[in-house]
């Protein structure tokens, strides 16, 4: 109970600091939001233009592609809003730059700090908002029946996306405990991989590749499979639980790898320190 209270007090604190940042420097805030929104829309435009040109891609119609891209933006935007600040998501940067020490001197459990420190509800909300708008447009065009269970399922898959992204970034990012210099950017590479490949439908690929892209390298679970389920292309079967199962597996693996890395860190520490990026 105390931990939960502590976690929410930290969410309140980081939310307030983010709001304060937006208010105290509105010019910079407006520039950041405008440029990131344009960047976000541009990043989905490639797939959208393909769908418009060919009347759909990978067995999905143009509106279904719009729905998938909206879902991706929404899920990725939420992940960014929860963990995007101060390199909490790009954990290999923090570890590789020797900045984890800043967290170890705080009288809070490390998991609590990692959960809350990246929270930016104001300056990090553009992706989520863009995603909500795109999804609403797609739902209207597809004339989807939006019910409470459907919304619940949507929320579950969005959370699965967040867990998958963070899980992968922490799993591979734990390598920075062992090789701080070489692996400093590994979480960012994983993030870019998901962002770039997660927006493409997997239809037409050989079954073995589809299998890999929905389990070991689960870019297919970032938006494609959840969208198919939410568009009622899969009504039942184990595939409905696949995003949940893979997300849980990645979270468990990430937790194990990160703990192992922390034990190693307590033995050798980090022989470098870069203040670049720390609370900048």
């Amino acid at each position: 109970m105390d931990n939960l209270k502590g976690l929410f007090s930290l969410y309140g604190l980081y939310g307030k600091m983010d709001l304060r940042w937006a208010i105290q420097d509105p010019g910079t805030f407006a520039m950041v939001v405008a440029s990131e929104t344009i960047g976000n829309i541009a990043s989905i435009l490639g797939v959208m233009l393909l769908a418009l040109r060919f009347g759909g891609v990978g067995g999905l119609t143009t509106d279904e592609i719009l729905f998938m891209l909206g879902f991706f933006q929404m899920a990725d935007g939420l992940t960014f809003m929860l963990f995007g600040s101060l390199n909490v998501m790009h954990i290999s940067r923090r570890v590789g730059r020797g900045q984890l020490d800043h967290m170890l001197i705080q009288p809070r459990p490390l998991w609590m700090q990692l959960m809350a420190e990246g929270f930016m509800p104001v300056s990090g909300s553009y992706g989520l908002l863009t995603g909500i708008i795109l999804t609403c447009i797609a739902c209207a065009r597809l004339q989807l029946t939006v019910s409470i269970p459907w919304l619940f399922l949507l929320l579950i898959y969005i959370l699965c996306h967040a867990a998958l992204s963070v899980g992968q970034m922490y799993l591979y990012g734990a390598a920075a405990f062992y090789r701080p210099v070489a692996c400093e950017e590994i979480s960012s590479v994983i993030c870019d991989l998901n962002t770039q490949l997660g927006k493409f439908p997997l239809a037409g690929l050989p079954p073995w590749m589809t299998m890999i892209l929905t389990t070991l390298l689960p870019v297919g679970l970032a938006a494609y499979i959840p969208s198919l389920i939410l568009l009622h292309k899969f009504q039942k079967g184990p595939i409905l639980a696949l995003p949940l199962a893979v997300a849980a597996a990645f979270l468990i693996a990430a937790s194990y790898a990160f703990r192992k890395g922390l034990h190693y860190y307590a033995k050798v520490s980090c022989n470098r320190y870069k203040d670049m990026g720390f609370r900048n």
């Binding site: 502590g6 007090s9 930290l10 309140g12 604190l13 600091m17 304060r20 940042w21 105290q24 420097d25 020490d101 800043h102 170890l104 001197i105 705080q106 009288p107 809070r108 459990p109 860190y265 307590a266 033995k267 050798v268 520490s269 320190y273 203040d275 720390f278 609370r279 900048n280």
Partner: protein
């Protein structure tokens, strides 16, 4: 050099206690393009010392002596290879959270300030994260603002502060939760005289009035001498000295500097004391006061007809340490 017998290192109810602490790192060395070797480096080698409540102790040594490793061990960031590390009787790696509530840590080259926020916001951030009571927070903000002169830049962005202002703000942030133990790694790094004075005065006051235990490292040994009563010297991971400054000076010899202003060629030696430097007509002779009598010295001085001024001082502590470090190295 012998370790002083002044400090009992076997007291269990101390604030800080290191007992036979060893910390070994493995270092990879590149011998040639295709040949590597792994070398065991003893960052700390069987180090034992303790600090009682209210101690204000300097922790000094040459680069790579093991000072930062000790700080990381004390703050629970590192585990010792063998031996014990206790802070308030607890293992810092196992009891990190309760210990961090009672400890303030400042690394001179790192900042806890929020770059894109006013200084005041960093203090409000710390209040929540450290769960500081409102009354204590208000009291400490008022006191630290006055002690460290933070008023002028309290509402300024941290990124726009000068180094001195930033270090003062960082120190105030370190002290905000009324820590019982303060670990300062190079707090005066790069500061001008005024900023140093403010920082030292603040630390001395806290130590004197509230009994805060402070362990401080610095390469500025005159600062250390001004701040602390006790000094622990470490060299190549081993404890080289633990005691007071007078005792240290006694061990290293009662070094004095004789400065003589004279016209013409100064004598190359004076009663056997060698000339070490000549600057703007000021000749410096360094000697050990235990090895030469004052009478002999003055007799030698009286023979110099062109002497216009004479000054006799203790050797600066920097010179004492430079000689010590040189001796250790060789």
């Amino acid at each position: 050099m012998q370790k002083s017998a002044v400090t009992d290192t076997r007291i269990w109810d101390s604030v800080i206690e290191l007992q036979n602490t060893v910390k070994t790192y493995e270092q990879k060395q590149v011998i040639s393009l295709f040949k590597r070797q792994r070398v065991q480096v003893n960052a700390l080698n069987d180090v034992s010392f303790c600090l009682q409540k209210g101690d204000f102790c300097a922790y000094a040594g040459p680069n790579g002596a093991g000072k930062s490793t000790t700080f990381k061990l004390l703050s629970g960031m590192l585990t010792p290879t063998s031996g014990q590390v206790r802070v308030f009787g607890k293992d810092p790696t196992q009891e990190r959270i309760p210990l961090m509530k009672r400890t303030g840590i400042l690394f001179g080259n790192r900042s806890e300030l929020w770059w894109d926020h006013p200084v005041s916001a960093s203090f409000q951030w710390k209040k929540v994260v450290w769960d500081i009571d409102e009354r204590i927070y208000q009291r400490n903000v008022e006191r630290l603002t006055a002690l460290l002169d933070l008023d002028d830049f309290w509402h300024a962005f941290a990124r726009e502060l000068s180094l001195g202002q930033r270090m003062r703000a960082n120190l105030a942030l370190t002290l905000l939760h009324s820590p019982e133990l303060v670990l300062l790694d190079e707090p005066t790094l790069g500061l001008d005289v005024l900023a140093k004075r403010q920082m030292i005065a603040c630390l001395k006051q806290l130590n004197r009035e509230e009994g805060v235990t402070i362990l401080v490292t610095s390469h500025d040994l005159d600062d250390l001498r001004e701040m602390t009563r006790r000094i622990v010297l470490i060299n190549q991971g081993k404890l080289a000295f633990d005691g007071g400054y007078e005792e240290l000076l006694h061990i290293t010899g009662d070094r004095r500097v004789l400065r003589l202003r004279c016209e013409g060629q100064p004598p190359a030696s004076l009663a056997g004391i060698p000339l070490v430097s000549v600057e703007d007509g000021l000749c410096s002779y360094e000697y050990d006061a235990c090895s030469i009598s004052t009478e002999r010295l003055f007799t030698a001085l009286s023979t110099i007809k062109s002497a216009s001024d004479i000054e006799l001082t203790n050797s600066p502590i920097e010179s004492v340490f430079a000689e010590l470090y040189q001796r250790w190295r060789s």
